[in-house]
């Protein structure tokens, strides 16, 4: 487990070991910590724009003792066979899941207009971490299929008055070409949430019509 302060210190340290300026998008627990939805996370999920950028980051974390580890203990069979699976690096309790461009087929947009927060770590080089909107975080949490992700979605919904579910569904529809399961995963999540958060039944109709 890593807390907010340790995470910031770790990124600052990494920025001292980088050989070039890098930017990446934080998703999952890391993004939730930067957005103050929670205070600790097990894994640090980052998405890079290119393989070269990921390699530079890996070079830096290897210098501070992170070692590559197997994905088998964390992800299910379908995700293990996916072409866009992450590389995982660990050191003690902390773990990095490093993706390039997509998260299991979900393509991330690196356009500055999409981000709601940017955190720059100015060391020897500059490491910029972008944070996406709560809607994007929820959608990503819906498709990763890990145990804790559903709990994280509930945490966000407990703290946020307004979540634009239609936008979430629209974003999912945009991605269905590259990720055929996305609407099914999202519907499953919404089914689990509908009683606790009194979701509109119209949302399900929107998903069903979009699926056809």
């Amino acid at each position: 487990m890593i807390n907010t302060k340790d995470q910031e210190d770790l990124f600052k340290l990494i920025s001292e070991y980088l050989d070039r300026d890098l930017s990446c998008i934080a998703i999952g627990g890391t993004a939730m910590m930067f957005s103050n939805y929670k205070t600790t996370t097990k894994d640090i999920d980052l998405v890079f724009e290119s393989e070269k950028e990921r390699e530079s980051f890996i070079l830096a974390i290897k210098q501070i003792g992170y070692k590559e580890c197997l994905l088998e203990t964390v992800y299910d069979k379908w995700r293990l066979n996916h072409t866009e699976k992450p590389l995982m690096f660990t050191r003690g309790d902390e773990r990095f899941d490093l993706f390039v461009k997509t998260v299991f087929g979900y393509k991330l947009d690196f356009n500055q207009d999409k981000i709601i927060q940017r955190i720059d770590f100015l060391g020897k080089k500059n490491l910029s971490i972008f944070i996406l909107s709560k809607e994007d975080l929820i959608l990503l949490k819906s498709i990763t299929g890990r145990e804790k992700d559903f709990e994280d979605i509930k945490t966000i919904l407990d703290l946020e008055k307004f979540v634009d579910w239609e936008l979430i569904i629209k974003n999912a529809v945009k991605q269905k070409e590259t990720n055929s399961w996305i609407l099914i995963d999202l519907e499953e999540t919404l089914q689990k949430l509908k009683d606790s958060f009194s979701l509109d039944t119209g949302l399900f109709e929107l998903i069903y019509t979009s699926q056809d």
Binding site: E8, F11, K12, S15, D21, S35, N36, Y37, Q112, D113, I115, I116, Q117, R118, I119, D120, F121, L122, G123, L159, E160, K161
Partner: protein, 160 residues
């Protein structure tokens, strides 16, 4: 997060309104707001002659210290942040000029022009510009600034 603090509804309050809404004495309301403020759940505007307005949020709000804070400190054209920008490390006016150019819309560029008057290290500015491939854009914005407002002169070696 403490459940006690989650009982309050998000929004803007004055101390009197907060006391009335949660059935507290005025002093108790102030104490409660102060505790919430320490947790980062309240931001306060006003004070002095102005009445204080307390903005309550469900999750702690981190203070920003990035591009928009630098620009809004020095520029006459104030900008509404497009995103929250936090920096861990030393963020200077030179960094802000580069960020302004990279954000690139007309309002941001206009606000960024005011920063040239506060550049302390031209070498740093051009090193950063080189790294981000925006040397020509920095020069162009500088010359535009020189035409439209009183502005510090750039050392000759960076002009061409």
């Amino acid at each position: 997060m403490d459940n006690f603090f989650m009982l309050f509804e998000e929004g803007k309050y004055t101390a009197e309104l907060f006391a009335r809404k949660y059935n507290l004495k005025f002093q108790s309301a102030l104490n409660r707001l102060s505790k919430l403020k320490k947790q980062g759940l309240v931001t306060v505007t006003g004070g002095g002659k102005q009445k204080r307005i307390y903005t309550l949020t469900n999750k702690p709000q981190e203070k920003t210290n990035g591009f928009y804070d630098v620009v809004n400190k020095y520029s006459k054209e104030k900008l509404v942040p497009k995103f929250q920008h936090r920096v861990i490390g030393r963020y200077t006016v030179e960094h802000a000029i580069i960020d302004g150019i990279l954000i690139g819309d007309a309002r941001t560029l206009e606000a960024t022009m005011y920063l040239f008057n506060h550049v302390k290290n031209w070498k740093r500015l051009f090193d950063l510009a080189k790294e981000r491939n925006v040397v020509e854009e920095v020069r162009a914005l500088y010359f535009k600034t020189r035409k439209t407002m009183k502005c510090r002169r750039m050392p000759k070696r960076y002009v061409e």
